[in-house]
Each structure stands twice: as structure tokens, then as C-alpha cells.
């Protein structure tokens, strides 16, 4: 709803032109109306219905969700400095642990295999130049 009003506000600034020569703001304005109308009806209908509070996560689910997102962030932040092979190995290990793979040998083997596969696929086969970081 807020997004719809923001689009309307911004698109007014772009200018509507006229119907014979539409300006850049006219189309986003239509989209905003298209967004606000169904959302208002959904809000109205959900306001009429009795509230059912279904939790999105259980305690462990929320923890795993946050850890997964943090691991994705780790890859994005560290990749330009450490290089894609090293960071792939580290994040693959983290993903394995977040996904509750038991022990250390299986996650270690899986992360080494993933890093090796990624190197062979992108560097050797596809010749894509990715940041190598400390492996320069």
C-alpha cells in the first residue's frame, strides 16, 4: 500500500504528459493504482475475517533461517577479498552445518568437492574470470 502511494508520488514528479503523448510517469501511475486497488480489498477482507495467528517459524526454524541469510551475506562480503574458491569452501561448510549435517568429515568433504567443482566449472570449462582474492 505504502509502495503504491510512493509510486504515485514519484510518478507525478516524472510528469504524465497527456493521453496523446504519454509522459514517463503515466505508466507507473497506472501500475500504482493497479497495486493499491487489490491490496485495499485484501486488507478489507482480511479485516473482516477472524484473525488466525500461524507462526512463520518455530524456534529452531528461525535460527536456521537467520543463519542461512547470514551465510549468504558472508559470501557476498568476503568474496571480493578472499576470492571465490576460498569463500565458496568456507560458506559451503557453513551451509552444511546450518543444514544440520552431522560431524565434520561429511561437511568438509562436501565443501571441498563444491569448491573444486565450482573452480572446474567456471574457471576451466566456462573461462569466466572471477575474483581470485588471496589465491591471486
Amino acid at each position: 500500500m505504502i509502495l503504491g502511494f510512493v509510486i504515485i508520488f514519484v510518478s507525478i514528479g516524472y510528469g504524465f504528459g497527456n493521453l496523446r503523448r504519454p509522459g514517463p510517469g503515466l505508466y507507473p501511475f497506472f501500475i500504482a493504482v493497479f497495486l493499491i486497488l487489490p491490496f485495499s480489498i485484501i486488507l478489507f477482507i482480511s479485516g473482516l475475517k477472524p484473525k488466525r495467528s500461524e507462526p512463520l517459524f518455530d524456534k529452531h526454524g528461525l535460527r536456521r533461517f537467520l543463519l542461512m541469510v547470514l551465510t549468504f551475506f558472508l559470501w557476498i562480503m568476503a568474496m571480493p577479498f578472499l576470492g571465490y574458491v576460498v569463500v565458496t569452501f568456507i560458506t559451503a561448510y557453513c551451509f552444511c552445518k546450518v543444514m544440520m549435517l552431522e560431524g565434520w568429515l561429511k561437511p568438509l568433504a562436501l565443501s571441498i568437492a563444491t569448491a573444486l567443482f565450482i573452480y572446474l566449472l567456471f574457471d576451466v570449462w566456462l573461462y569466466i574470470d572471477l575474483p581470485r582474492g588471496i589465491l591471486g
Binding site: I7, V10, S11, Y14, N18, L19, R20, P22, G23, P24, G25, L26, Y27, P28, F30, I31, A32, F34, L35, L37, P38, I41, I42, I45, L56, F57, G61, L62, R64, F65, M68, V69, T71, F72, F73, W75, I76, M79, P80, Y84, T88, T91, A92, F95, V98, M99, M100, L101, P107, L110, S111, T114, F117, I118, L121, F122, L126, I128, D129, L130
Partner: protein
């Protein structure tokens, strides 16, 4: 040779994806798209179609063996397929499904080969008003057929259209919604969005859920032989499902899923023994599985002839073709006929490959279903990250993917359909062009669109559909009251 290899890889990956619960064909196709960029557009198209086709084949395996649909189009197969497995007829069901899918796939390809050039020729007479009316119809059908709440579908289409309007507008070179950011000038790329909404969201979903491992019974090759009665009972449902599925493929929305539900209901209605449905009727397995294979080919028609994808996987295909600077549509048959005919030839062979792959390797694919998704997800997460980064060497694209993944996770939980959003993103620029060109042609008087017969037909169908949808609950209530 490269195309054949692409077809084989697509079919194999698609079958595995179909077998594994979790990643669907759309996420996998988006995932594989960066790897096709090294080759020509036809190779990319063939691999994408192979994945989609293969996932329909593979989806039935786990539905029959363990009562877990590998993907949405195999949900119906669980009803009778698993009951057949409980009676010891799993092998026969799998064999009949494989042969039925092969026949359906072949019928679908013949239909595509026959109808696509004709419809492509007819679509040459479409101007901006016809395209605009057709897209209005497509968005209305899509919102109604994807998920149980049409308003949520509308909202998602609107969001998709908005996302596609970010960046410099090519019509007047005016930057919109960039808020001064250079990264947003070129707009938000489709692929990170698709991989986020379908791939990362699914990975997060699997990380949050606890997954119980299915038990899969070992199958020997000799158990695959169906008996004469089963073969006789499967022939008509296979052909009916094939034809029905092909025409369902022309519908916007999850056409493969819709085709299976319609086929199952149709077979039950036509059956002399409807009481067997739900208890292991072979018609209830073969019909829907033939329908979903044929629907894949049917849904290629709007994509190739009009350049308008009706389903999320075909939206990924369109994005892939655009990355190769190929714009599907009526002109495809004149400018790039080789792409279309190479695609058709490869699909015939791909269909045969799937039959050869699926019959003897059914035991292997069944065992794949026992791999915990938690083992695969770290690998798939990394492929998503590196794959998206490698397209433009852009960290911004990776941020977009993760952000889309988190939003996609919540939207799924709140039961918002994702396909209308993705199709809205892909069709956004085309919709804007059509709106602006139509306004200019009609000098601002939009009512003139009713003077265009083809556009008028599309708009009447769209209006009829809305009226039907609104009045359906009242009609049903009235009908039930009268019956009581």
C-alpha cells in the same frame, strides 16, 4: 552435437529435479541459464525445454513410489499411483507413465510443429492494441488460475510490472525509480530475481522445515512389465490426456498442474468403473501424466509465436532468449527459423532420450529421492551465488537475488503466487510499449480499441472471465440450495 548434448543434460537434470522434492523446474532453469550463455540461443532453448520436459517425467517417479510429488504437476499422480504401488503394481505404473509421457510428448511436439508457424503467421497482423488486449486477458487469467486468491495474483502482477519499470525507460530515455543509484539505471535483471524468488526462497524453506526421509522399495526391470489389461486401459487415457494437455498448455498460469487435475476428473467421469479412482486406477495415473507432458509443448506456442510466456518456466526461457539477443514472436519464423526447427528436432530426440533414461533407470531415480535435500542445498546455494555473479560480474545482482529470496520466502508463506510476479517482470516493458503506442495510435481515445475486432474478442473474454469468477460463489450457492 552440442545441441544433442544440451538436450541430454537438460533431460537428465530435469528428471533428477522432478524426482527431488524442493527445487522445481523454474528454479533449475534459472540456475542453468548462465551456463548456456557460452553457446547459441538454440542450445540454451533446448536445454531449458529439456529440463522442463524431464521434470514432468521425473515427477511421477516419487509420486508413485513414495507418495511424495517431486513437483506440483505430479500431485494428482499420487492419488492413484501410490495406490497402484501398494498393490505391487509400481513397476507397471512407472512403465505405463514413461510410455504415455513419450506418446504425449510426441503429440505435443507435432502440435507445436503444426500450430506454431500458423499462429505465428496470424500474429503478424497484431498491432499494439491487440497485444495490449491480449496481455490484459493473459494477466486476468494468470491471476485467477495461479493460486486460490485472484486478488493476490493481481497484486503480484502489479508488483512485477512495477519492478520492470525501474531504470532508464527506452522510449524516452528517462530514469525512473533509480533514486540516484547508478546500479539501478539499467534496471533490475530478471535472472537474479527469478533465482531469488524460486531458488533461494526454496533453499530457505528447506532449511527451516524438517524433512522426513522416504523409504523407497527396490524395483527390478522385470517388474516393469504391465499386464494386457493395464495396457488396454491406458491407451485411450494416454491420447485423451495428450490432446487435453496440449490445449491446457495454451492457458496462462500453471498449465501443467491444471492439465493433470482436468485429466484426472475427465478420466473418472468417462470411466466405467469410477469407484476404482483413488484406489489405484491406471487411467488416473496415465491420463494426468500424459497431460502434463503435452502441456509443456502447448505452452511453447504463446512463447514462440507471440513472445508472451504464460508460465513461469517459459518466462525464464524468454529471459534466456533475450540474453542471446533473440526476441521470440511472430517474426521468429522469418528472422530465425533455424532456432525453431532445431528446437523441434532436438525435442523429438529429447523425448526419446527421456524414455530410454526413465525406463531402465527408474530404480536409480527412485534412490535419488532418498538423498536428504539438506545434503544438496549447500551445493545449490553456492551454484546460485556464483552463477548470478558470473553473468555480469556484479555483486549488486547477488544482493538482489538474496533480497528477492527472503521476500519470496515470506510471500510463499503468506500464499502469494510467485508466477504472476515473474511473468509481470518479463512482460513489463512490452506492456508499457503497448500502452503508450496504443494511446498514440488512438490519439488518447482508448475507446477506439473496441473498433479492433481481435482486441475486442480478447477484452470480451477477459470481462466474461471476471464476471464468471465473481458470480461463481453465488451461482454455486444457488445451485446447492436448489439441489437441497
Amino acid at each position: 552435437m552440442v545441441n544433442l548434448l544440451a538436450c541430454f543434460i537438460g533431460a537428465l537434470v530435469g528428471t533428477i529435479v522432478g524426482v527431488l522434492p524442493g527445487l522445481g523446474p523454474t528454479a533449475t532453469m534459472a540456475l542453468m541459464l548462465p551456463f548456456t550463455l557460452r553457446y547459441g540461443p538454440e542450445t540454451g532453448l533446448i536445454m531449458m525445454a529439456g529440463i522442463w520436459f524431464g521434470s514432468q517425467y521425473g515427477g511421477s517417479t516419487t509420486s508413485i513410489l513414495v507418495n511424495i510429488p517431486g513437483e506440483a504437476a505430479s500431485v494428482v499422480t499420487c492419488i492413484d499411483g501410490y495406490q497402484m504401488a501398494k498393490k505391487g503394481r509400481a513397476g507397471a505404473a512407472l512403465a505405463l507413465v514413461a510410455v504415455g509421457s513419450f506418446i504425449a510428448g510426441t503429440i505435443g511436439i507435432i502440435g507445436l510443429q503444426f500450430f506454431a508457424p500458423i499462429l505465428g503467421g496470424a500474429a503478424l497482423s497484431f498491432g499494439p492494441p491487440e497485444y495490449l488486449a491480449f496481455m490484459v486477458l493473459a494477466f486476468i487469467l494468470l491471476s485467477n488460475l495461479s493460486g486460490d486468491a485472484p486478488l493476490k495474483g493481481f497484486l503480484m502482477v502489479g508488483l512485477g510490472l512495477f519492478i520492470s519499470s525501474i531504470g532508464i525507460n527506452p522510449l524516452d530515455s528517462y530514469p525512473r525509480f533509480t533514486f540516484g543509484s547508478d546500479k539501478l539505471m539499467l534496471g533490475i535483471e530478471f535472472l537474479p530475481l527469478a533465482m531469488g524468488f524460486f531458488g533461494i526462497a526454496e533453499i530457505l524453506n528447506i532449511a527451516v522445515e524438517t524433512y522426513a526421509l522416504p523409504m523407497v522399495k527396490k524395483l527390478r526391470l522385470k517388474e516393469l512389465y504391465p499386464n494386457k489389461k493395464e495396457i488396454r486401459r491406458s491407451i485411450s487415457p494416454t491420447f485423451r490426456g495428450s490432446i487435453l494437455g496440449f490445449f491446457c498448455g495454451l492457458l496462462p498460469g500453471p498449465c501443467t498442474v491444471i492439465s493433470t487435475f482436468i485429466s484426472w476428473s475427465l478420466e473418472k467421469r468417462l470411466s466405467k468403473t469410477p469407484e476404482e479412482f483413488g484406489k489405484g486406477a491406471v487411467e488416473g495415473v496415465v491420463g494426468p501424466e500424459s497431460a502434463n507432458n503435452s502441456a509443456v509443448m502447448g505452452s511453447m506456442i504463446p512463447l514462440l509465436t507471440l513472445g508472451i510466456p504464460f508460465a513461469a518456466p517459459s518466462a525464464v526461457m524468454l529471459a534466456g532468449l533475450r540474453m542471446h539477443h533473440v526476441e521470440p514472436g511472430p517474426l521468429l519464423f522469418q528472422t530465425n527459423p533455424d532456432i525453431f526447427w532445431t528446437f523441434i528436432a532436438a525435442m523429438y530426440l529429447g523425448n526419446l532420450m527421456l524414455l530410454i533414461l526413465n525406463l531402465p533407470l527408474v530404480g536409480f531415480f527412485g534412490r535419488i529421492a532418498t538423498i536428504r535435500p539438506q545434503m544438496l542445498m549447500p551445493f545449490i546455494s553456492i551454484i546460485c551465488l556464483v552463477g548470478v555473479y558470473s553473468i555480469r560480474n556484479s555483486i549488486f545482482d547477488v544482493w538482489v537475488m538474496i533480497f528477492a529470496g527472503v521476500i519470496g520466502y515470506y510471500l510463499r508463506r503468506w500464499k502469494f503466487p510467485i508466477a504472476p510476479f515473474i511473468i509481470g517482470v518479463v512482460l513489463g516493458p512490452m506492456t508499457e510499449n503497448s500502452v503508450r503506442q496504443t494511446l498514440m495510435i488512438f490519439k488518447g481515445n482508448m475507446t477506439l480499441i473496441f473498433d479492433r475486432p481481435i482486441a475486442l474478442v480478447f477484452l470480451i473474454v477477459a470481462a466474461a472471465f471476471i464476471v464468471l469468477r465473481i458470480s461463481y460463489p453465488f451461482l454455486r450457492r444457488k445451485f446447492i440450495v436448489q439441489k437441497v
